[in-house]
Amino acid sequence: MTPQLSITDQPIDVAAALAAVQTEVAGAVNAFVGTVRNQSGGRPVRRLHYESYDSMALTQLGHVVAQAYEKWPMLQEVAVVHRKGTLELGDVAVVVAVATPHRAESFAACQFIIDTLKQVVTIWKREEYEDGTEWVAAHP
């Protein structure tokens, strides 16, 4: 029941995250895999640069997962891995994996964790274009 939360500058092993949440009491494993796409608002993106305030990011991620355990008491295992550094198109930026006894809660808990992560976890994304870079969401 101890969530496995990490921020890494190495490529994310999605299979390892799925394996980390496997448990015999869960009949459902659900995962969200976020990847680097080739455009943003119609503007071609070459690559992404993620920056993390690691200690706070892990603290806030712990709060998010604790909220998920409160909302879905049947939630069994959780693993979240977020990449930092420079990512190329197609690279995996984040994996959220959860295990629950039944599937409905696995979808809900997984979506809650990734949605809330995006709101509170201290990770920043700079998009690189052909003609420059921009911090995502920085300005109104």
Partner: protein, 80 residues
Amino acid sequence: MSLKISLYGITRDIVGTSVIELPAPAPATVGELLAEMRRQYPALAQLRSCAVAVNNEYAEESQALHTVDEIALIPPVAGG
């Protein structure tokens, strides 16, 4: 009392360094810190948001600041 403020993302670009030290008399609260930083670096006021973290937690404007605190400016996050 002086304060060390860590800067991430676009706030580091705006200020031009990853850590800034505010000498005594430094701002006493989160609200005063934000006002002082926006006065010195007006571009900070153009951001969609700028929170302050104290010891890895989001802080209210009324929260008092101490020399030993780990303080950071938190521009709009964009993980995932």
